[in-house]
């Protein structure tokens, strides 16, 4: 296409700017995470970033695309950081690299690169790894575990055995186990407290990481990088379902606040389900997409066999996104409320 065509004025925006803002918005969460877990996270982010850029570069070259220009959009970095943040921080380096490989090579570039991938690359990475390496993907460092930086690095690079003793159940795991084994406490909170897993208002330690993610998410909303539809629908639907279950049986189900601030709920609502490429694009589609992801995530994390449900929930919603968009097209300006909204798949055409 002729680049010298109207309009000749452009808002100073770029994909790189959006991606950089997303990375910036992740920083508070990363900082809180660092304080909770230790510097191992930085190593994971480093491994993920380097391998993501490498894979992306090689694949772009191989596909005959402008390598430098496309690497500059920083979308691979966002995927890499999300992988590093959703994988257990002490997972071996090769696990992270495999995750990145599936995300960048399989889920993104082989589908045609940025803008063409039907599934969220970071969540493909998570799903593949949790199915292939369920044990490794469930080893979350135990609460209050203090390991020196060198020791953490040794674990990541496999020089030290990954001791099961170092890991423990996450708060979500604990509840799930309780739900299945019928060891009943008066309520879930007590159960978690008995295992020293309950903090101020949710899973101990994690609540602050999640709060930091929330701040980052709100920053993205304010900057206009994401729209409110998906996060709001996600949070509302997950809270609503959690509320119902909790009211029905507080001895087995945790309260909504706990659910929102545990696991990847907020990260998912603001940073993962909002991925524009694999998600919905129409406003109503976004609402349904967010709500569906919130509901599925709750169901999977509470009743499923995986530690958290965000990845599968988002991937399942990715499947429905094109259909949702087709049925949720907004009205063209001028079409009257009483006029039937024509869908794009209808054969009839409007007289120009």
């Amino acid at each position: 296409m002729n680049p010298f065509s109207a309009p000749y004025l452009h808002r100073p925006v770029s994909i790189q700017r959006s991606m950089n803002l997303v990375l910036l918005a992740l920083l508070p969460g990363i900082l809180a995470y660092l304080l909770l877990i230790g510097p191992a996270l930085v190593v994971q982010i480093f491994i993920a970033s380097v391998s993501a850029l490498l894979f992306e570069g090689v694949l772009l070259y191989w596909r005959g695309k402008p390598v430098k220009e496309r690497l500059h959009d920083h979308s691979a970095l966002v995927t890499a950081w999300l992988i590093a943040l959703t994988f257990p921080p002490l997972s071996p380096w090769w696990l992270t690299v495999i995750g990145v490989f599936f995300a960048i090579v399989i889920a993104k570039q082989l589908y045609g690169g940025l803008g063409q991938n039907p599934f969220n690359p970071a969540m493909i990475a998570f799903a593949v790894c949790i199915i292939a390496f369920p044990a490794l993907m469930s080893q979350w460092p135990a609460q209050g575990l203090t390991l020196s930086f060198s020791r953490q690095v040794e674990i990541i690079f496999g020089f030290a055995p990954h001791l099961d003793a170092l890991t423990s159940a996450t708060p979500l795991d604990a509840i799930k186990t309780a739900l299945k084994t019928d060891v009943l406490h008066d309520n879930v909170q007590e159960l978690l407290m008995s295992q020293n897993l309950y903090g101020t208002f949710a899973g101990r330690g994690w609540e602050w990481v999640t709060t930091a993610y929330l701040c980052g998410g709100i920053f993205l909303l304010i900057m206009g990088v994401i729209s409110w539809h998906v996060p709001l629908a996600f949070i509302v639907s997950m809270s609503a379902l959690a509320l119902v279950c909790w009211l029905v049986d507080p001895t087995r189900f945790a309260d909504p606040l706990f659910h929102l601030f545990s696991g990847g709920a907020i990260l998912g609502a603001f940073f993962i389900a909002t991925d524009p490429v694999s998600g919905c694009a129409t406003p109503r589609g976004k609402l349904i997409f967010g709500a569906g992801a919130g509901l599925l995530a709750y169901l999977i994390r509470v009743f499923g066999s995986f530690p958290d449900g965000i990845a599968f929930a988002v991937l399942l919603m990715n499947l429905t996104a094109p259909l949702l968009d087709l049925y949720c097209q907004p009205r063209v300006f001028g079409a009257l409320p009483s006029m039937p909204v024509k869908r794009a798949d209808e054969e009839k055409e409007d007289a120009p």
């Binding site: 296409m1 109207a6 770029s14 959006s18 803008g115 129409t282 300006f333 794009a344 007289a351």
Partner: protein, 542 residues
């Protein structure tokens, strides 16, 4: 004194642009020195191209008709100055394609002598009010005067004076929004010639019998609004009581027809519905000025005001004769060496002049000398990430990313189902796109392809109809021939029978059959004659 519009209807989308009008907005309108040569492309309006009525060597007077309107949606063309017709032939025109088109070249004699002028109105401005005009006479008069929309769409104005049957025209909107950055010609016109605009407006309101007239001006042109308001206040209250100046927020594209109508009246024109069918009509301020010059002074549309700005020494607003060379105008304004091209029209909807030069036409309101400083080159195109910024900015409520996707895929039928024909090519989507995709460029391409496909389809349909009719005819002829043979045979046998029976009179049946056969033959001939007759083109040329 100025009433702000208390409530306006906010159309969806739209963008806030830096106005960048300062360079020329304080420069009064000045006359371009009369050029020696004028090149007038015949096609200066939407609809049919007028037919030249002069030939090389003819002497023409200023204002003399040199090309006559062809059909209803067409407007005449006139000599902008006195001189000699040098050529009638193809010359480059101001069009993104850079192609040449039939034009009339006039060499000025420098006298600028008017021919005979016949104003439509004899009376002064205030007296004609309450007069009853014959609308058809006015329409034909304006068509003869070559008045077309001067906001860029160049739709013949007389066509817009025809009311939709059965729908009272309630609101007349005067478009003084001038929402594109850099452009200031309407602003200056309103400041300097407010009185003539108001006269023209009163004429139109009387002619059309509208209930109210609204002069819409964006809030970045307060001086223009004050000038218009003062011009209104100077008139008799009884004449102008129904006319108001309304200040609208500066949201691009507030000056676009559908958006402006909605903003002021809350009426949304559904797909395929013209504003007249909603009881609203809209004219650009410059068009109303031209209408007034025509009806009151007998001046056809032979000049216009053009904002010349950008990378020039002396930005300003020039009144130029049609056909003046764009390169000359830029030179006159002092185009700097750093300028690397010329944008014709505003920066949002205009185009880069493909060659160095082309003549000024009725719809060109702005020339911008382009430089890399003023218009930094856009980053290379990236893939679309479906961020939906474009959909949020689209004033027509379209989904540009879907249109882009299907245009790129070459599935133009799908773009139609996403309402590509509703796209006004305003450029809002490309302005906000983080992937730097020149979206309207894709849409123009898709529309061209659809047009071409529709034309092919039409031709194929005609061919098929012709073919089917021929088949039908052959079949019918065959049947007729067989029938005739049968008749002959029957007649023979009848004759034989008669002869054998020795009956006296011819049997009546065969006579009846002969009559029928003759009738069949007549219709056949009539049909064939019809197919030879040139049939009028189906489909409409608009």
């Amino acid at each position: 004194m100025l009433k702000r519009l208390r409530q306006f209807f906010r159309f969806p989308g739209g963008i806030h642009l830096a106005h960048r009008k300062e360079a020329s907005s304080e420069k009064a309108i000045t006359q371009l020195p009369l050029p020696e040569k004028l090149i007038l492309p015949l096609r200066q309006s939407a609809g049919a191209t007028p037919v030249p009525i002069v030939k090389a060597g003819d002497k023409v007077k200023k204002g003399q008709r040199i090309a006559a309107a062809e059909g209803w949606i067409s407007a005449s063309l006139h000599a902008p100055t006195s001189g000699t017709v040098r050529d009638v032939g193809d010359y480059p025109v101001a069009h993104p394609s850079g192609l040449a088109a039939p034009s009339i070249v006039i060499e000025a004699d420098g006298e600028d002598a008017w021919g005979e002028r016949q104003p439509f109105l004899e009376q002064t401005a205030t007296e004609y009010a309450r007069q009853v005009f014959n609308p058809e006479r006015v329409q034909h008069y304006l068509q003869d005067m070559g008045v077309v929309g001067m906001g860029g769409a160049v739709f013949p104005s007389h066509v817009k004076l025809v009311k939709a049957p059965g729908i009272p025209l309630e609101t007349l909107i005067v478009n003084g929004a001038e929402c594109e950055p850099f452009v200031t010609c309407d602003d200056r016109l309103m400041r300097e010639r407010a009185d003539e605009i108001i006269s023209g407006l009163i004429f139109l309101t009387e002619l059309l019998g509208v209930r109210e007239a609204l002069i819409a001006i964006e809030n970045n042109k307060p001086e223009a609004a004050v000038a218009m308001q003062n011009a209104l206040a100077a008139r008799l209250e009884s004449v102008v009581h129904h006319i108001r100046v309304v200040i609208i927020p500066a949201i691009y594209p507030a000056g676009s027809l559908k958006q402006l109508v909605y903003m002021l009246t809350g009426k949304r024109a559904p797909i395929g519905v013209l504003p007249t069918q909603l009881g609203v009509q809209c004219f650009n301020v410059a068009t109303i000025h031209a209408i007034w010059r025509a009806v009151a002074h007998g001046e056809p549309l032979i000049r216009r005001i053009v904002t010349v700005t950008g990378d020039v020494e002396r930005p300003g607003n020039l009144e130029v004769p049609l056909g003046a060379s764009i390169a000359d105008i830029l030179r006159y304004a002092g185009m700097r060496g750093s300028a690397d091209g010329c944008l014709v029209g505003g920066p949002m909807m205009g185009f880069l002049l493909p060659h160095g030069d082309a003549p000024i036409g009725k719809g060109i309101h702005c020339l911008i000398a382009r430089s890399p400083q003023l218009f930094p080159p856009e980053a290379p195109e990236s893939p679309c990430i479906r961020c939906t910024s474009c959909a949020e900015a689209c004033p027509q409520g379209l989904l540009p990313y879907e249109l882009y996707w299907w245009s790129r895929a070459g599935d133009f039928a799908k773009t139609q189902r996403y309402h590509i024909h509703e796209c006004i090519e305003c450029g809002c989507c490309a302005y906000v796109c983080p992937a730097s995709i020149p979206l309207p460029q894709y849409f123009r391409f898709a529309k061209d392809q659809l047009r071409a496909a529709a034309k092919n389809q039409e031709m194929a349909d005609q061919a098929r109809e012709r073919f089917e009719f021929r088949q039908f005819r052959i079949e019918r002829e065959k049947a007729e021939r067989a029938e005739k043979l049968a008749q002959a045979a029957r007649a023979q046998s009848a004759k034989r029978a008669v002869e054998q029976a020795g009956a006296s009179s011819a049997p009546p049946t065969s006579e009846a059959e002969a009559i029928i056969a003759a009738a069949v033959e007549r219709t056949r001939m009539a049909h064939e004659a019809e197919t030879i007759d040139p049939k009028p083109e189906p489909g409409n040329p608009a």
